[in-house]
């Protein structure tokens, strides 16, 4: 090849390169912003990552509720050619009916849901198949490792990740994470290419409740057994530390995650309310422990329109016997001495008619009318727990006030949040609402309630080795059809605390409409005893040195008489 030809070839190549370079300059520099934006629009994708919802733990760090990844499967029917095969494939892996999936795929819609909340293993198997027209959307599923334990308390989370009830609703803002975004490129084949580093969505810290999982489990188990035994329509067990106000268990059966009756529903408590009347009268010194009242042999016309009855006829009774035998007539007479205004004042001071401020949604303040709205008989009926609506949490808090020496405490349910290292928050200091009783009166009431368990209606609540104080209740339910009290439907209850020398637990047991026996002494007190025995054993509570069993007490009485 001669020099001229070589030069020609070189010039041609150089010219070609020059053209290419100019074109590249045009594309890469002059047209760059426009083309880059077009490319980004075509290839760049951004997917929303579902927010991580924080776990809920009990006081010992046991998980009560947590979130795990799940997927929702949807389809673009027009993109699926062989709908029948796809329907059978999906049905096999999703454990669903093939015909219903096929019907969904045959709909003339651009978008249809195939399955919501698919668990990780099934979704992963299906995603690997890369079926055209089938897409997946990440989401979060709320799960409860302990099954239905404390469902009424924990509440429910909706499909959109918002708390609908219970703790999930009340602490939604704390529990809910911020979510995140994932940016990536898609190539021509739809395969994703890494684009940029992304900050992972910080998982919100776990929420720690005051509740004890094991105590809650045992309370629910024992309550279930008692419900079956007495074929009751429902029941509740609430356990509180009377010194701190911390709730250890709040069981309600049958369980409904959308409702928490212990804080939301008010009922007439019956005789468990007599403790409040008695406390008010003792604190105001309208009665003394040595006073005696005539119980009218079981039938007393308190007003022309109200005749009171006691289940058993009694004559003259001491204050201790009035509580022990749960006389309505004598309690009404005590209320008469106290007067409307004072009784109302103490009932309010114990927290009835007000919300307790427990951090749960939809709390009911109960039903308590002002004295000006009371009828002529209200003073009498209120004294033994009628014409007043209380929630279980109010009743429990009132008994805790007596147990701790007379201070009403705010019931506490939230201990706080675990730190990033997983360390749990410690116990909370008590939040006093007000002093309701002097320490002296509280101790007197505790002594009287101890008598109820030793010799009165609450003997079945005894716990060997421990001094127990409490009061039974058997309340007729109001029947709206007959506009009066039902002769067949009752609420049986027992509320008490132990050990009396140093109260550690206040326990309320309520059974709704028990069959066979209707009495709190027969239905609720034995369950209290069972639960208290479990608590004493599991929490290693030292036995009371002064504990005297019923049999021992009788024997000592007999010995005294002989002496």
């Amino acid at each position: 090849m001669d020099g001229a030809r070589l030069h020609g070839l070189a010039a041609a190549i150089l010219f070609s390169f020059l053209v290419l370079t100019l074109r590249l300059l045009h594309l890469q520099i002059l047209q760059h912003p426009k083309l880059a934006s077009l490319t980004t629009q075509q290839l760049k994708r951004q997917s929303e990552l579902p927010s991580q919802r924080a776990a809920i733990l009990d006081r010992n760090g046991h998980v009560l509720a947590r979130s795990i990844p799940a997927w929702s499967c949807y389809a673009h029917p027009e993109k699926i050619r062989d709908k029948k095969s796809v329907a059978y494939l999906l049905a096999d892996l999703l454990q669903k009916d093939a015909s219903s999936i096929l019907q969904t795929l045959q709909e003339k819609k651009p978008f249809v849901w195939i399955a919501r909340d698919v668990d990780y293993p099934s979704a992963e198997r299906l995603q690997k198949l890369r079926i055209a027209g089938i897409e997946w959307m990440p989401q979060v599923r709320r799960v409860h490792p302990n099954g239905r334990l404390a469902q009424n308390l924990l509440g429910q989370v909706g499909m959109d990740g918002y708390g609908l009830s219970g703790v999930e609703q009340r602490f939604n803002k704390i529990l809910q994470g911020k979510g995140g975004k994932r940016k990536f490129f898609l190539d021509a084949n739809g395969k994703s290419i890494y684009l940029e580093a992304q900050e992972p969505d910080p998982e919100p810290p776990e929420l720690v409740l005051t509740m004890d999982r094991n105590i809650q489990y045992t309370a629910e188990k024992m309550l279930q057994r008692q419900l079956e035994k007495f074929q009751a329509a429902g029941g509740e067990v609430l356990i509180q530390d009377p010194k701190s106000g911390e709730i250890l268990a709040m069981a309600h059966l049958p369980s409904n995650p959308l409702q928490n009756p212990p804080t939301q529903l008010a009922y007439e408590p019956g005789s468990t309310f007599k403790t409040i009347t008695l406390a008010a009268a003792l604190e105001e010194r309208r009665i003394g422990l040595d006073d005696h009242f005539f119980c009218e042999n079981g039938l007393w016309a308190a007003t022309p329109s109200l005749t009171l009855r006691d289940p058993d006829p009694h004559g003259r009774l001491s204050v201790a016997d009035i509580v022990g035998k749960s006389s309505n007539i004598c309690m009404a007479k005590i209320a008469e001495r106290l007067g409307k205004e004072k009784l109302y004042w103490y009932v309010r001071a114990f927290g009835f008619g007000n919300k307790t401020a427990i951090p749960l949604p939809g709390e009911s303040p109960g039903v308590l009318r002002v004295p000006s709205a009371w009828s002529q008989v209200s003073l009498y009926t209120l004294s033994f727990g009628q014409e007043v609506g209380v929630t279980s949490i109010q009743l429990l808090s009132a008994y805790s006030a007596i147990a701790n020496g007379g201070v009403l405490l705010e019931p506490q349910l939230l201990r706080g949040q675990a730190d990033p290292g997983g360390n749990l928050p410690g116990p909370l200091p008590p939040r006093p609402v007000r002093r309701v009783l002097s320490k002296k009166t509280a101790l007197e009431i505790a002594k009287l309630l101890e008598g109820v368990v030793q010799e009165g209606t609450g003997t079945k609540a005894q716990v060997a080795g421990y001094r127990v104080a409490g009061k039974t209740g058997t309340a007729q339910k109001f029947d709206s059809r007959s506009n009066g009290y039902s002769p067949e439907r009752f609420v049986a209850s027992f509320c008490g605390f132990f050990p009396v020398s140093d109260p550690r637990f206040t326990v309320l047991v309520v059974l709704d409409e028990p069959q066979g026996s209707i009495w709190g002494s027969q239905v609720a007190a034995p369950l209290f005893s069972e639960i208290a025995s479990y608590l004493a054993t599991s929490q290693a509570i030292p036995a009371d040195r002064e504990w005297v069993s019923r049999g021992q007490k009788r024997a000592s009485h007999a010995a005294e008489k002989v002496d």
Binding site: L6, A10, I13, L14, F17, H62, V63, R66, I68, P69, D119, Y120, P121, E124, V143, P145, N146, G147, L149, F184, F185, K191, S192, I193, Y194, L195, R213, N214, Y217, T218, V463, A464, G465, S533, Y534, A536, T537, S538, A540, P542, A543
Partner: protein
């Protein structure tokens, strides 16, 4: 222009172009790798969440009670099963 210079220029141009294309392809390939590693990490994280849930289910009191009672024949601790003895008075312990 000398022949040698032209050839050098052509070679240099070609090499630069090749380098640019190779670098771009490498970046895309690493992008694929990174994305696939991210997805693998996500899968492991998901699997971990499921395994943790399984562990928590195995530790639930209902399951533990079933195993304790059904398989191991254990019974609940009742009153009197555990007796806590009073600690000896210090003087007694010292003397003996």
């Amino acid at each position: 222009m000398k022949k040698k210079t032209v050839v050098t220029l052509i070679l240099f141009g070609s090499f630069t172009l090749f380098l640019l294309v190779w670098q771009h392809l490498q970046a895309v390939w690493v992008g694929y790798e990174l994305q696939s590693l991210l997805e693998a990490m996500e899968r492991q994280r998901n699997l971990n969440a499921y395994l943790q849930l399984e562990l928590q289910r195995l530790h639930s009191p209902l399951r533990i009670e079933q195993v304790a009672r059904g398989k191991l024949g254990l019974v609940s601790v009742t009153q009197g099963t555990v007796i806590e003895l009073d600690p000896l008075p210090l003087t007694y312990a010292y003397k003996n």
